[in-house]
Amino acid sequence: MHIRFTASAAGLVALAFGLATTPAAAFPDQPINYIIPFDPGGESDVSARFQQPYFSKIAGQDLIIQYLPGAGGASAWSGLNDYEGDGYTIMGTNLPHIILQPLLQDPGYETDDIVNVYIFHYTPDALIVAADSPHETLEDFLAAANEAPGAMTVSGSGTNSANDVANQLFENETGAVLTYIPYPGTAPSITALLGGEVDAAWGYTTVAAGQGDQVRTLAVAMEERHSLFPDVPTFRELGYEIVGGAYRGIAVPASTPEETRQELSRLIGEINADPDFIQQMEEAGFALIDVPYDEAADWMEERKAFYGEIAEQLGAGR
């Protein structure tokens, strides 16, 4: 009896020891929560949904999308580091939001609190008018704007957002004076455009793609023309150095260990390289970029410098 007991006890101890030192089952071994800081149906949601099936295929686990809207994303970002850093919670991030919000308001977090593991796409800014607008080209639009400074109204989603920044950059580059009218989201700002409430709208190539023939895109803020819109010039071509848009990435809580961060970065990079994924995203109007974890910090510094200047202008205007 005594021996059997000791044997089983020893066996149990060995088992426990073995389990404790077994290398953890390959990450991920459960589904991963992907938190989107906005309401469903927006660009962040759609790009996440595009990623979902590829993630399951590549990582072998499901990606579960949850929504945590509020304060233009600040509600979610200010709570990011309260989650467990076990790699099973990731959050979508948006630029310029995470840089501008701490500069211009008090959103409850600092830009450096956000640990990005990958920046995987951006939606290039696009200046859009309704199909029945009298402005056929950007030059027409600028001519009208210069005739009556401040009289042209341009809609966009939110204050201190990508659209707001695009408008400010545009005003800087062209010298035009427009009136930016913020709406609670992209959908209402496009409704306003289609309904004639505003003269033009700052949107993205995704919006232009979604609206099809109902809108006309005057220019896009890219380095080269977008494959979906071969006839639409870039701002750069027309002589205005405006390249950018809303960038989206994925972040983890700061307590996430280094290897997990690298692993997540690798996974997302693999999704980004999948040709079917690329095709789906581009057909919807997105523009893919690759800023993996190793490069993320430097890239953020560069973006901070860039937006820093704009922030002063936006802040001063209020």
């Binding site: 589904p31 929560n33 579960i64 949850q66 989650y83 919670t89 209020r318």
Partner: protein, 158 residues
């Protein structure tokens, strides 16, 4: 407007005073906002101040009647139990992130069983009710985490 001469409506006046304070606070805060952001707070705050003053007058003159069909029960019957419920709800809301959803909910819900029960009940019934509560908390916990994927705070205990 019905006017019931029921004597001065002190409760109505006191609450109107509260609204007055809210209105004043709103206007005062709006002074540090941008022009566009301040329009509504200032206007609504102003309305609230005006309305509160009118209401204080009406209430003290005994003309402030209740909103029909909506008035809750203004009696103090069972006040002890009512306050106990309020205390449980406050504790529940504040403690569950720290202590854990399931435990806090179970304890709070059980406390409510006691508060809500007026008659003498045999111990078997208490047990049955506690079991029902436990099952309810368990089922919804499962529903939220496994089906709806809502992250529930773990807290110190479960």
């Amino acid at each position: 407007m019905r006017t019931d001469r029921i004597g001065a409506d002190f409760a109505g006046a006191a609450v109107a005073l509260f609204f007055l304070a809210v209105g004043i606070y709103a206007v005062w805060s709006s002074l540090s906002m941008t022009m566009l952001g301040a329009i509504f707070p200032r206007t609504i705050g102003g309305f609230l101040i005006g309305l509160s003053v009118i209401q204080i007058g009406l209430s003290l003159a005994g003309r402030g009647a209740q909103i029909s069909g909506e008035g809750g029960d203004a009696s103090n019957e069972g006040l002890g139990r009512r306050l106990a419920l309020v205390a449980v709800m406050i504790a529940w809301a504040l403690l569950f992130p720290a202590v854990g959803f399931v435990v806090t909910s179970f304890v709070a819900a059980t406390a409510l069983i006691v508060i809500a029960e007026h008659e003498r009940t045999p111990p078997t019934r208490w047990l049955l009710r506690t079991a029902v509560v436990a099952v309810m908390v368990g089922v919804f916990y499962w529903l939220m985490t496994r089906i709806l994927y809502i992250p529930i705070p773990r807290g110190v205990l479960f």
